[in-house]
Amino acid sequence: MYDKAKSVALANMWVAFASFFVAIILGLYQVMNRSGLFPEIESHQLYFASVSTHGVLMGFVLTTFFVMGFGYYTATTTLKRPLWNKGLAWIAFLVALGGTVMAAVPLLTGKASVLYTFYPPLQADPVFYIGATLLVVGSWLWCLEMIMSVVTWKRDNPGKVVPLAMYGTTANAIMWLWTSAGVGIEMLFQLIPWSLGLMDTVDPGLARTLFSWTLHAIVYFWLFPAYIAMYTILPKVAGGRVFSDEMGRVAFIMLLVISVPIGFHHLYMDPQQAAGFKFLHMLGTFAVAIPTLLTGFTVLASLEGAGRLRGGKGLFGWIGALDWKEPIVVAGMLALFMLIAGGFGGMINASYQMNTLVHNTQWVTGHFHLIFAGTTVIMYLAVAYHLWPKLTGRRLASRGMAVLQLWLWTIGMLVLTLPWHVLGILGQPRRISSTPYDSPLVEQWGPHEAAMVVGGAILLFSALLFVLNLLLSHVSKKMDHVDDDEWAVAVYQPLSVPKPMNGFALWNSIIAVWMVIAYGYPVLQFLILDTHGSLAWGY
């Protein structure tokens, strides 16, 4: 038996889900405040401190710790050996946790109400920037752990195929190193020295350009584990096989290569970058839809195979034949449903021209909640249900409650995000705490604002069921001897794959060239242009 690093995986998961639960409570408060239906709780100070904390907890803390915890489990159980350096995994955990606690203090005391996108020249307490940076530094140690685990495994197993789940995890680690460099440069060369008073001014044009470098691919850093679970856990639990192992690798490679050099779709409306570069990034943005379309196909085909093996007949009979009592199967189908719905919205945001109509409206909030809080987080929840017995050695307290919880999560997310899409089309800006505009539009917004409060309440209830289930399982006396850390095999399990599909050297050089083209001049232009920095502003 090898050491499966269960305790470090579990520690990461608990930090992830505790943050998730706190953030959901804030989320419900925010929709209540914003709806205007509860005038007694309305406060701009509290609202924007809450939005900042909600964003950091969901976007940075839940995701990073979940990715790390799931990565340790994946590395040990797919490679069937201990981590390369278990001590490093604990150091990564402590650094990231220390950073999170540091960032939480100014966030919760209203000293960092700059939202999770930072928005210089708004200036937060330096402790916030340093804490957030440490969280990222912790994740870099995780990347090193993943990469070295696979490198040493390959050295000891020459010619063997890296298991698909670990191939995807390594792709994510490498992608995250490329991705987080943008925000890392912004922090180290702009925000931290400026907030410490070492620099008088900051250039928001440069800061936004650097942040855009991180802002798109970070979403794929969050999404990767969801896709990995869909490819390599879901088919097995559903009673089938992966439709294609190779297509999974192709999707992971495309996500790795394409998702970093396309961040300018977040800057379409920004004056400091030229149209040509925005157009170039738009081309890449549509290319990055390809791996998602391939994933949707492969996962559905794998589930169809499972449904047919279970006796499903006809065009759609296999859907009913799936095991709808199994949490991860339910989550997988619901996640794909939300991905398809949210994907259409994403195409509009990504459009070079149409984005103008919805940019920074509540439509955008609706879109990313559907894709992130919907598709991605529902898979995190389902993976937690799947892993809990393996990590704690105890039986899941209630599978029925888990399935109910996942349905409620989807329903809540739809009740929350469909009105948001409508509000956005009706012109409502995102990131407002109330709607004091003297405009007939405000009356049209009313019913949709009421709906989002209902959505928020359903989501909080669903999250409560989730955390309760994990807690009850963790302290339960019912032992479970699940040691079948088996991953799904493919219909045609490859015995060998071409070298580029087993490693990353080629892909790293392609990213390097593409990044020079996509971000080289756009960053260097700030040295050439006659730019004027901005002084610091409070909020």
Partner: protein
């Protein structure tokens, strides 16, 4: 490498979807000259109010020789100045905006009058309003505690 025939068909479909979408955007960009606001023009946010294009007397609507209009506005906590803009319907309008303080965004709902306003840079938007009536410029980027109150009026009036 093993590729299932069904998978191959799906890859063609995916390719077709991508080509159609990217093709229509490229077509609109080239033939209709539809691009997002991207003029890459710098300005010193600390001295805007002292001299140059954005001093108070220059703000508002100016008529150009070719009949088009230029509208100069400042986005500052917590309004757009001047706070009331009146333009005729079906007329080419160029907005030029900048910020003396922090990042703002501006959008007139249901139109493509939309841009970020970043201190240190001048934003330029070319548009025409096709519907008469009163509407609003709404700030759509978080700019501080008064962000919700940041809006101003736009009146689109009959031509002539």
């Amino acid at each position: 490498m093993h590729i299932d025939p069904l998978e191959k068909k799906w890859m063609y479909v995916v390719g077709l979807i991508t080509v159609v979408m990217v093709g229509s955007m490229t077509y609109a960009a080239i033939t209709m000259n539809l691009h997002p606001p991207s003029n890459v023009e710098t300005i010193d946010p600390k001295t805007l109010h002292l001299s140059g294009e954005f001093v108070e007397d220059n703000l508002g609507v100016t008529k150009n020789a070719d009949g088009s209009l230029t509208v100069r506005m400042i986005a500052a906590r917590y309004s757009f100045y001047p706070q009331m803009i009146e333009v005729p319907v079906d007329t080419n309008v160029t907005f030029r905006m900048t910020s003396p303080d922090i990042v703002h965004g501006v959008h007139v709902p249901f139109t493509n009058m939309s841009t970020m306003v970043i201190p240190g840079y001048v934003s330029e938007v070319n548009t025409r309003f096709v519907r008469e009536g009163e509407s609003q410029f709404l700030c759509n980027e978080y700019c501080g505690m008064g962000h919700d109150y940041m809006w101003s009026k736009l009146k689109v009036v009959p031509k002539g």
